[in-house]
């Protein structure tokens, strides 16, 4: 059984799930995905990307130079997508269990 992903890792993989993104795009997308609750910083994102690249979950898609600054796009690999899917399944199972028990609590009164 695989360990649960940490929240920043989960959010970075989610940000890359639909399309390749550059570092700043990941920062902004994570903020949007979390409804503004999570604001990752560059140090955290690039430490995570370093590890995700080593694990083969994320790869460099392409590079651009915009206003004389390097912009590198990252994409989710098939391995990364499979890991994210496994995490979503795990979280869904937990969420369903919590919902079920909350409904039982409301139906049968508080314990």
């Amino acid at each position: 059984m695989t360990d649960a992903l940490r929240e920043p890792t989960f959010l970075i993989l989610t940000a890359l799930a639909a399309r390749p993104q550059h570092g700043y795009g990941i920062l902004r997308d994570v903020e949007e995905i979390s409804g503004g609750r999570v604001q990752l910083r560059a140090g955290t994102v690039y430490t995570a990307l370093d590890r995700l690249r080593t694990d083969g979950w994320v790869a460099v898609d392409r590079e651009e130079v915009v206003e004389s600054r390097l912009r590198r796009y990252y994409r989710l690999t098939d391995t990364g997508a499979a890991r994210l899917e496994a995490e979503v399944t795990r979280m869904r199972a937990h969420t369903l269990a919590a919902e079920k028990r909350l409904r039982a609590r409301l139906a049968g009164g508080t314990a």
Binding site: H22, G23, Y24, L27, A42, G43, Y46, D50, L70, R71
Partner: protein, 179 residues
């Protein structure tokens, strides 16, 4: 180059060399874009970058792929040296506070009030050399720091509890040397 960029470059210089070469310029672009109107890095951003640099150094140290850079090892050792000494200094400060509370600080020789002072001074010089970015004193500085620390520890006298320096009215069992 703006002042903000220069400050970020200084922080990014603390990252492992391979990471810096691969993503340094890219990170700088993200940091500058995320800074908005700021003219200097915020303390949260600075703390985050320092913490991330330490984690990346540590990850490379424990990596089993053999790709450990000697320079990175030196950088981590340089960082841990002062931290370890400061942890040790807490005991000395506590001891000094005990003598002050006992009203006997005048009885304690100066060299025993701050026994690690020479080592602290050397590590302070190491920190200055490391932060200055100068090439010549930077590389051997941590080596000097550790050498002086080791010599200081090896030549330290054993504890001398109950040796007569304990103020009158104080049990030798509560001598600060026994802490």
């Amino acid at each position: 180059m703006t002042d903000l960029e220069r400050r970020y470059r200084r922080l990014l210089a603390l990252y492992p060399r391979d990471h810096r070469e691969r993503t340094g310029e890219e990170m700088l672009a993200v940091l500058v874009a995320d800074a908005g109107d700021r003219s200097r890095p915020g303390w949260r951003e600075t703390a985050n970058l320092l913490w991330a640099a330490a984690r990346l150094h540590l990850r490379r140290l424990v990596a089993a792929d053999g790709g450990v850079e000697p320079g990175d090892v030196l950088a981590v050792v340089s960082l841990l040296g002062p931290v370890a000494l400061l942890a040790g200094a807490a005991g000395s400060v506590h001891e000094l506070a005990w003598w002050v509370r006992a009203g006997a600080v005048g009885q304690l020789p100066w060299s025993e009030q701050v026994p690690d002072l020479p080592v602290w001074l050397v590590w302070f010089a190491v920190a200055v050399a490391a932060c200055s970015g100068g090439g010549a004193p930077r590389r051997p500085a941590p080596g000097w720091g550790w050498s002086v620390s080791c010599c200081s520890r090896c030549s330290a006298r054993p504890p001398t509890s109950g040796s007569g320096r304990v103020p009158a009215g104080c049990s030798s069992a509560w001598s600060p040397r026994r802490h």
